[in-house]
């Protein structure tokens, strides 16, 4: 609520307020704009402190870990009734949720308050879910059915439809019927009167549930002409920031005043008319409610967007850029522009491991020129370089939504380059360090440096062994060959007669070769070897002892074999056998023919062997 008073009345009120007892009772109540909020949106907490005194204590807000809390201003109203002062102050806070879940806002108290407020429940939803479309009854508000106090004057229409004179009325209007969430809407409440007012005048500000309100002083007074009639007007402007989307209604602005009544029973007598005019008539004037369509912000919110709507610029600076390691540098980030900058949260500190940051403090300067809320907000933080060298503080970024361009934008500061000289020993931020053996201080992580050796490359010989390709068949072939040999050996061991037959030709040829190699002086010995070769071969084939084997028994034996040799072969065997005996026992006849004989014998034995193996 707000009071509209002529200066003289205001002075009297101030004097009366000063004389009011300080120990009067104080009531405190709290109200949330809505019981649910989606992460990324905001809601408002209105704390009303009332009492019969002009100076009311401020509420003591308990810690709200689940929310970022921003002071969004206060509005005060004073009432003077029969010289007594009563006032109320509404403190508005913006709550920006930090995490989803159900939370309870603890009781809020104030110095001198008879009782704290009741705890309030609020649910923070994840972005995927939607809060209740309708705002719903605000927590802490008066329960349904609670109307004006008994005897209070009923509200009347703006143009005094229920008997108020048409020459006193109040209007309410907004500069735009449609706005985005958090975009400023300027509400103008204008009280016009064409007659003399009597007594006090009281103004009840309209209900602005769903909005954050920021007054736009001063009250503007002046004269205007309506339908050719002169009116005196008083005008109040309020900047409203919708904090939720949908159709939001601004309630009626109410003016309580007294005007001079010109009664019908005044008669024609001057005194009757004079006193009739002087009799004050209480009048309650209401403006029409105003509905605003509030649109949600379009999708595509950039990372770090906190809901600021307006137009921002940002600038960062340091109190010095040449510093020693361990010394403090104050970084200032100033954000200015239009919009509700009070709700702008502190920027996220950059991830620079070589800098240690301390708590950020902020200060705001609100500018309301041309009825547009804006100004600047400055964040200051102390940074202490941990190491020497060039350290770049990266840009601070503040995303916002520009309602004029209907697009998201980003106010970004320029980077700040610090030149850090080595500090004195122990000058690093060791003041807060524990008195324990110091460990490593991670400054920044990165990949490891280049290889300093073996730049030309190396190759594992073991790996190269895998690339032998077809050569890997060698051990398999070796194993197969070994297996074949072993099988043969085993077969020979199992069949000694067969083995003797298979090896007969080899042994006979070996003897013939030995005979051929002997000199002519040993012709008799060569002849004996040749004869032994023939007899030995036949004995091996017949599996009979070679000693005592005669030509006759040899021929008979060969003929009894399963595959007997051809008759021609046996004839040749007979000739060579006899020649061998002649050569053996008549050495003179063998001279000079040993080589030929060995050759003939070898040829015969090969033929014979083939025939026997058929």
């Amino acid at each position: 609520m707000r009071a509209l008073f002529p200066p003289a009345v205001l002075c009297a009120a101030a004097l009366a307020a000063a004389a009011a007892p300080a120990a009067a009772a104080v009531q405190i109540s709290a109200e949330l704009s809505r019981p649910q909020v989606v992460m990324g949106d905001q809601l408002s907490l209105a704390v009303t402190v009332e009492g019969d005194q002009a100076s009311l204590p401020s509420p003591k807000l308990p810690p709200l870990d689940a929310f970022s809390v921003y002071d969004s201003g206060r509005s005060q109203s004073l009432n003077f009734v029969n010289g007594k002062v009563s006032s109320s102050v509404v403190y508005t806070y913006v709550l920006s949720p930090r995490q989803p879940g159900k939370f309870k806002i603890p009781p809020i108290t104030a110095d001198g308050a008879a009782a704290p407020t009741a705890p309030l429940d609020v649910e923070v939803l994840t972005p995927g879910s939607r809060a209740s479309a309708a705002p719903g009854p605000a927590q802490g508000a008066a329960p349904p059915g609670t109307g004006p106090a008994p005897g209070a004057p009923a509200p009347r229409a703006a143009r005094a439809r229920s008997g108020a004179p048409a020459d006193v009325f109040v209007t309410a209007s907004v500069d735009r019927p449609r706005a985005y969430v958090n975009q400023q809407v300027t509400l103008t409440v204008r009280f016009l009167n064409a007659v003399q007012l009597l007594g006090d005048l009281r103004y009840d500000a309209p209900e602005t549930t769903g909005f954050l309100a920021e007054e736009l002083p001063p009250v503007r007074n002046g004269m205007t002409q309506i339908d050719g009639r002169a009116y005196q007007f008083s005008e109040i402007k309020v900047a409203l920031f919708p904090i939720q989307s949908g159709k939001l209604t601004i309630g009626p602005a109410v003016i309580h005043c007294q005007i001079a009544r010109m009664g019908a029973d005044a008669g024609q007598d001057f005194f009757d008319r004079f006193f009739a005019m002087a009799a004050p008539q209480p009048v309650t004037l209401n403006s029409e409610p105003v509905t605003i369509q509030v649109d949600p912000l379009p999708p595509g919110k950039p990372e770090g967007f906190t809901g600021v709507v307006g137009r921002l610029t940002a600038k960062a600076s340091a109190d010095r850029v040449d510093v020693k390691a361990g010394e403090a540098v104050t970084l200032s980030v100033a954000v200015s522009g239009t919009g509700n900058l009070k709700s702008l949260p502190e920027p996220r500190l950059p991830d620079v491991p070589s800098l240690r940051f301390f708590t950020t403090e902020s200060s705001s300067s609100i500018d309301k020129a041309n009825d547009r809320v804006g100004g600047s907000k400055t964040f200051r933080t102390v940074a202490v370089p941990r190491v020497s060298g060039a350290i770049r503080v990266p840009p601070f970024s503040f995303p916002y939504f520009d309602p004029e361009r209907k697009a998201y934008a980003r106010a970004e500061t320029a980077p700040i380059d610090l030149r850090v000289a080595p500090g004195a020993a122990g000058a690093a931020p060791s003041a807060a360090a524990p008195a324990q053996p110091a460990g490593l201080t991670a400054i920044a992580d990165d990949i490891r440096y280049l290889k300093t050796a073996d730049a030309a490359g190396s190759s594992s010989a073991l790996a190269a062994f895998a690339d032998l390709g077809p050569w890997h068949a060698i051990p398999f072939a070796f194993l197969l060959a070994a297996a074949a040999v072993a099988w043969r050996r085993r077969a020979d061991e199992a069949d000694p007669r067969g083995r003797r037959r298979r090896e007969a030709l080899g042994r006979a040829e070996a003897r013939l070769a030995s005979a051929a190699a002997l000199p002519e002086s040993e012709a008799a010995k060569a002849a004996a070897l040749a004869a032994d070769a023939l007899a030995g071969y036949v004995a091996d084939q017949l599996d009979a002892p070679a000693a005592g084997l005669t030509l006759k028994s040899a021929l008979e034996g060969l003929k009894t074999l399963r595959r007997p040799p051809a008759a021609g072969t046996l004839e040749r065997l007979t000739e060579l056998w006899r020649e061998a005996e002649v050569r053996r026992f008549a050495p003179g006849g063998a001279r000079g023919d040993a080589a030929r004989f060995s050759h003939d014998a070898s040829s015969l034995l090969k033929s014979l062997d083939q025939e026997l193996r058929r």
């Binding site: 990949i447 050796a453 073996d454 490359g457 190396s458 062994f465 895998a466 890997h472």
Partner: protein, 247 residues
């Protein structure tokens, strides 16, 4: 058998290659890197690595230069190649794990004890193949010798032959397991936020995006499009071939 062991040990040690031919260009590339000219350093290392494709050190240096030049995907691919060549190098493991972490992937598969993963990947695929073949040679030669030897000698060779055969089986299974875990038909996403579509062409909708540096398995191809499976999430989609660097 002792001679076989000696041969195996000798083969297990890397043998130096000719370094003189690449020493000067490598020094020039290193100078570019040290001067902060990472893009040029990467180009120089790329030439060197192409000339010596079996050099883990050059692949490592190429990966470092690519990373510093801001090309996370190409850096990951180079570190992967270096890791395949020399998996026991701690620097290579560190840098590969670092770039994979930047791409949102874990070097050690979740749930796998790091020590076990280290042991499993301690030998490169080629080294395991070499050990597998070495064990095969030893087993077959010992078995062949046993067949040819006499009974007493054969009995003395039997335990060595069995041990070699066991090593053959172990290294063979290890080799096969490594090929299954790190299949050769892999690639790395080298385009930032590469789009994977439902089919091979722009007419198919985008199914999801993959961050640069992610490892994928190439499942098929259709013209300039590759069908890939993202190793971490197991999702499949089609991606333009130039957004993938094959390993």
């Amino acid at each position: 058998m002792i001679s076989s062991l000696t041969l195996a040990l000798a083969l297990a040690f890397p043998r130096p290659a000719a370094a003189a031919a690449t020493a000067a260009p490598a020094a020039a590339a290193r100078a570019l890197y040290d001067a902060g000219n990472y893009a040029d350093a990467a180009a120089a290392y790329e030439k060197l690595a192409a000339a010596a494709p079996r050099s883990a050190a050059l692949q490592y240096d190429l990966g470092a230069a690519e990373f510093k030049a801001g090309r996370l995907g190409r850096a990951t691919a180079s570190f992967e190649r270096a890791f395949a060549l020399n998996p026991r190098d701690s620097d290579i493991r560190f840098n590969l794990a670092y770039t994979l972490r930047r791409a949102g992937e874990d070097f050690v598969p979740p749930g796998t004890p790091p020590a076990l993963f280290w042991i499993f990947t301690a030998l490169s695929e080629r080294e395991l193949a070499g050990l597998h073949w070495l064990a095969a040679w030893t087993t077959l030669l010992l078995a062949g010798a046993g067949l040819l030897a006499g009974a007493q000698r054969r009995r003395s060779l039997a335990p060595w032959t069995a041990a070699a055969a066991g090593a053959w089986v172990v290294f063979g299974l290890w080799w096969a397991g490594l090929r299954a875990a790190l299949p050769p038909d892999r690639g790395v996403v080298v385009a930032p936020a590469a789009e994977l579509r439902h089919g091979p062409g722009p007419n198919f909708g985008v199914a999801f995006t993959v961050p640069e540096g992610r490892r994928v398995r190439v499942l098929g191809a259709s013209g300039p499009w590759l069908e890939v499976g993202v190793l971490k999430e197991g999702a499949r989609g089609w991606i333009q071939a130039d957004a993938i660097e094959r390993l």
